[in-house]
Subunit: 145 residues, 12 copies
């Protein structure tokens, strides 16, 4: 059973409350329940971390070494300027999957550039909260090979 | 059973032959067999179209109206400049999922901008040839809701 | 009687169906009937060509030499990047009138630059489907001088 | 009978004298006679205003409310920087048609951007002094619908 | 009793009539009555000047020397390109307070740059028509020190 | 009585000590005393929060929901790059007033762009430490309507 | 005897009063006396015009045709954005000499670009108020050839 | 005997007819006769392909694998935007020589950037129609080593 | 004996583990031992602080006032965007020496701009982990004068 | 009697031979004779230096200290990139007058930026070969004050 | 017999020693022998000049007038910034052929722009050291016409 | 004993005389004496070269091969544009240390970009004339390992 850490960045603790026309009405707790069901059916175990602090997220990523097999991260607005987060991801050997709930390419100009993508395994953008489960699907698929 | 059309743009007929260090060694025929298996297990039917001509791809997209429920498209290099393809996608009501095999954010500058993303339902980038199956997974998931 | 060829570029075959809030609800067939009436009253004869393929449009333009007196073209999205179409227009001696149905200056940034305008006789933008008839009016006027 | 005000911006009082290789040899008085003939045949009445002062043109536009049905404006070089003129146009409910005598896309870089176009009903560029009559044709046409 | 001149730039004479969803429904006459009340309670006297002409506003500013203690200016669209107005402000020793009714940072790109701000005492943006009274409050406060 | 939270971002704890030629010689404690006087005379209650950590400020903003009626924020240098702070502000329904002590438009280029302004109710820049009291004045005024 | 018109643009009426560290302490009246002496010794006659209004300066330039042999212009801040002034200069056949009192290349970025220079006979920048007399010297020299 | 395919892109079928002041007066048929002579004297065999369609050119390039030893291509205006053509060239192992008849560096800005050059063996620009024979010379030379 | 604080920013706790081809194989503990030897031989005392949190580093810098004589800082990726860190450094009177282990000018574009350098005493880049000792050498040298 | 050194930069030894439609038909020897006449009548003595080497010109400028009162320099194409020449000029206390024969603002884009102007006393551009004498006139004038 | 001068710019004296993976292992002496053989067989005579000094190369080019029929130049890094060299080439009437050994379009960004190309007869880039002989071939061909 | 060559670029011969507020009051002769002392104590021998000519500096660098172990270079203003100097440095195998006396990041924009840094071993900027000795310290340190 492979271990997957899901990390949500700044403001994603407000999911379901903040701008529901963009981010949907589900809280992440509800989403997480669904993800855990999916994971256990696919031989994955999930842990979850959210923080509004860049430093705490970097600490958490450092802490993953030797404990986690995959990271799924929605970096929130850190996506667009946190070179420190980028360096943290490129400092470790764990594959990191970047996800975004909304289609960032239909929004403000600054949301259309990710400084994280070049160090991610891959990126899933714009399918609503399904992006987390889609990431798990990829992990589960890649374990079959 | 929902109908999914997979479209591959210019040069993707060479998959498995062209730059295998970037695009892998599988031909799309082999990939397609695997996708069809997955589809039939998930109540989807798949058809496939490849062309090196922007005009033919646009014709095909127009032709989908009333015949296809989802389009999965890897526009190849048209991704980066074909506003005609973009207009074709925004002209129809069928959800379109954009996929890219390689992590375009680690390659040339011009590959990092997609003119297609703003009119796609969502985008999946950089997981190797798995991106097609990941797209099918999303479709299959969205049919459950 | 002078001969006028009207050329519509990619996706304009969907006129009346695609994004009617932008492009109106008339199909081009209906518009064409009206244009033919106008033309015959003004000593002009009209032929019509539509294609989603840049190459076919260029072939058609080359084919006009010696057969057509004026070209009215709505290049669709090719307006914004097709330097090949531009070269085709500057390669022939026939005056070419560029038209756009919507006011492209109120839309996306990339729609606000035309690579065709510098080689056109003139440009008519943003009056709805009337732009074709306005172009015919100019032709008819210029024949009076 | 609908009322149309034609406004000419800075330096257009020199029409026929200034750079005739670009702007032609007709003075606007001669052009205006022709436009008035055309207008009276098409149930339109024309008034005319020219000023070299941005402020006076804005005053004139404000003054149109309730008195004029259409404005045809050639803003001269104000086209390229007068956001005050733009705001004046967007402040009123009268449709404004922007015209330019020369093909501005074959001239200096700064002439190729209009700050007025996004608030105009439509734009007619590059057919010589015919652009004024073409604008009247559009007005006359739109009154038929 | 300190003398304050309020200057409104181009198109602000239309306040209450122009785009009320942006600028509100009060005419400046109504606003001015309220400002005069506030001023007289705070030992300030107010005069008012509006013009659509850059040159007239500059003349007015020059004319303030020795007659006015503070200027509150809403330069309208001149904000974004009138270096002449800027030079007029930096030519005199009277403190100038720049105000904008709407939040210019949520509007067009060109509205987000003020060439006036670098020579203003300070800038108040985006609180609706309250910005004038807020400016008076600052003046009244600064007189206490 | 309405509740107002004043938030000061990074380095503003040094107010009165840091670069007094730019930021003045008053410590924020002294300023706060004056603000509290003003507030109590205008039916407002004030609380105060300062942090050098982006994450802590975001946490504080989230925590305001249901507890605070207005936020007055001087984001310090976070103004210029913290899209996470911006998202936090746009995630809540509380009006946020952005203030800056110095005239940022006379300083370095990077200080002249605020990523916060587009999500603020309004912005007050450059009047020295008065900007906090000016913000309170606006709140007090808006309560009268 | 050749006729020279000296035109000063916005804010130059304040010469000697405005920012003397940049523009010197002489009023233009004093400078003009000196210029007239020089002119009469060199077979030139001088007239003078100053305005803060772009429109009035354009009118004056139009009015020069047939009456003036040379124009010496210090366009003030209009130098940097007035394409209308530029068009006025290129509309007439009179040689125009552009002068600037200060070295604009040591000042703000926007002062370093002149939209007038490409249509001027030549440009003299940065020698203090001597630039007017230097322009007269050139005129006097060119009359010798 | 090595096989060389010469490919001409859009509008080059008009060679000798289109803008002879730029492209010369020889048709490509005449040029081809001369090239065939040269080739047969240098142990090369030549075939020729021209198309106005990006898709057809890509198809032709794909078709070269195993059949052609060198490609000489004048991509016409596709030079400047066809990333699909670029990908086609980098997908095959055949050396490709890019040629341009005119000196593109003395023409429009957009003609000065080639998206093809980075994947070409080398580029020959600006010697008139000799560029094709120069390319053959290089091939013939490289066969000697 | 002068007191020197060495600060390492985000991800530098992984030194010796992260990307050793860029950053070397020594942990900072080993480096620190060497630095302490050097310091004690040169009449300096060293303390050390590392954090992945921008806020904590700013707090530490504020805390140095009156306690530390020199700061040597490797800001990690904060170098490239942390204007808050920059303001912290310019808020205190302690000389700050910026160091980078790798030659940032041979790496990604964004690594080539430091927002910290303009407020540093000086910058030492690209000599491997020696940069810390080089900084100490400078301090020791400057104490001799 | 004040000493003036005239320096001509690269390619100006070809004056009279190179592109006479731009630079005129006089050789600099002829021009120099005329300048010497003018100088002797105005209590100035002239020496002359021309080199195609940036290094030699810098050496010459260094050598002027204590020997020359004014430098008149036409830096040729070094104008546009030689920061070394700029530093040489700002390293000495001798006033330097920059001259250009042609109106550089009507030519290529790169000719429109001078890196020398910010360190020159003033700049004279575009009056043909008269610019040298105009510079002498300024020197002679400034000696009168 | 026509005379050809081959000029090599800075650092090309190191050919064969410097970065052989880019520039090959042949010294230019060896290449020159081969070129001389080719030349004598094609009725050309060759002379050679190399310098690391821009000034010396310009002197040499000036010196060619009346002595040399063609120049083949590899300007080395001067290609990318030496406007003085460009002016030297455009000052003479001798056709100049620009060559580059490596494919500059696959290297650093700054190597992809040549300031020399617009004044060259043509440019040959990226075929290794063959570029010199290819240039001779063109000269020999053009002599046949 | 290792051999170190110190190279100073254009205008650095004026050290101690030129802009002492930026570069200090010591001549390089005085500095060199101190460096030689330091060197002899650290088993290094120093030679020195200064030139105002790019070409002479490149020649000197070529001449170092086999004779010098380290180069310390202050390229002066060549830092910012001399790609020829850059190529010279990358053409040899000798480690080159780039130094700048002033903090170039607090000065003009163009001084903030070095084209030399990407090919240097490392860069030391902004510590005054100590930078030379700091470079020697690094060399001496690296010899210990």
């Amino acid at each position: 059973m492979k271990k997957v850490l899901i990390i949500n960045g700044p403001n994603l603790n407000l999911l379901g409350k903040r701008q529901p026309e963009i981010y949907g009405i589900q809280s992440f707790d509800e989403i997480l329940d669904d993800l855990k069901d999916y994971a256990s059916n696919n031989n994955l175990s999930i842990s979850y971390f959210q923080s509004n602090s860049e430093g705490e997220i970097i600490n958490k990523i450092h802490d993953c070494v030797g404990k986690v097999d995959y990271i799924v991260i929605n970096p929130g607005a850190l996506t667009h300027y946190s070179y420190s987060l980028r360096d943290a991801i490129s400092s470790i050997d764990i594959p990191v999957i970047e996800v975004h709930i909304s289609n960032i390419y239909t929004r403000e100009q600054w949301r259309q550039k990710s400084v994280i993508s070049p160090v991610a395994k891959g990126t899933i953008t714009g399918f609503g909260v399904s992006v987390y489960k889609i990431a798990l699907f990829f992990i589960s698929e890649s374990l079959k090979n």
